[in-house]
């Protein structure tokens, strides 16, 4: 079983509370939902479609469908998955051809870093030089953005739902109409692709700053 982080558990608990309050008719919950989920759906659809106007339309259409069909929400604990399934379908409708259509799965071989036959060392950047505070680095943010945009759509969608939104593997499978094994396979490839792109960015940064692996310039 996946061990959800404390942060994910708190988010799930707060979503469950929000769902219950919405069903109970709380106007405060309505306002909160429109603000928070409007932003979440916009970010998802913008990252999937790349157009601000489309993403804003998709967010508004999704919110409207949610409120029109609130009676169909039978399991408040799955509200987030239900909302994102509506958002995914709205993205689908907007783009006639599905941006989620399966393409060839990348093989793991393509994503494996090169390994020196003699030394056995991997040809990767020195990640120890990047503490968590690196998240504040704007160049790294841009590199992350490029890495996300470079993901094939079907991997990008899984990455957004699973890693950014923190939905479970089972919920992602329901949203995207695929098996849980497919979710795991694609998430792993998405993460490996992003790691490889960030690795290339870090190697370039190290070269520019005169830092080489294992040696502080």
């Amino acid at each position: 079983m996946a061990s959800d982080s404390k942060e994910q558990q708190d988010a799930a608990q707060s979503d469950l509370q929000l769902a219950r309050e919405l069903i109970a008719g709380s106007i405060g919950a309505f306002e909160h939902f429109v603000d928070v989920y409007g932003r979440k759906i916009f970010r998802y659809s913008y990252t999937m479609c790349g157009h601000r106007e489309d993403a804003e339309e998709i967010a508004q259409e999704t919110l409207m469908k949610v409120f029109e069909n609130l009676g169909q929400l039978r399991e408040p604990e799955h509200m987030k998955a239900w909302v994102f399934r509506i958002a995914k379908n709205a993205c689908f409708s907007k783009h006639r051809k599905s941006v989620f259509a399966p393409t060839r799965e990348l093989s793991l071989e393509e994503l494996r870093p090169h390994r020196d036959n003699e030394s056995g060392e991997l040809d990767i950047a020195d990640w120890s030089a990047w503490p968590d505070a690196a998240a504040q680095n704007s160049e790294l943010h841009q590199a992350l953005d490029r890495a996300v945009q470079k993901l094939p759509e079907l991997y990008r969608s899984i990455f957004l739902l699973r890693d950014v939104e923190g939905l479970s593997t089972a919920d992602c499978a329901k949203i995207l109409d695929v098996s849980e094994d497919v979710v795991k396979t694609r998430l792993h490839r998405a993460r490996l692709m992003m790691r490889a792109d960030l690795d290339a960015f870090m190697k370039a940064s190290h070269t520019n700053s005169g830092h080489t692996k294992g040696v502080q310039a």
Binding site: S3, G71, A125
Partner: protein, 86 residues
Amino acid sequence: MNQNDCQNVFALLSEYIDRDLPEGTCEELDRHIQDCAPCVEFVESLRKSVALGKKYAPGVEPVPVPDGVREALREAYAKSLAERQK
């Protein structure tokens, strides 16, 4: 350790990081990884990359929901609640 072990580990690393593997498999990977410098290095890089990815947000924020749309949403909400109570 040989490269075949590393390849098997490589295929399971996301589930390993998520601690989403069957009982025993995580421990098996732990045993391999702790004695394998390239795997330690790669897992570290993947873990940091995943942690960074989880904080991702596009550099564009939506405009606030227009008042007219918010009003229409409020009406749809009220209608759904009324139907639910029937």
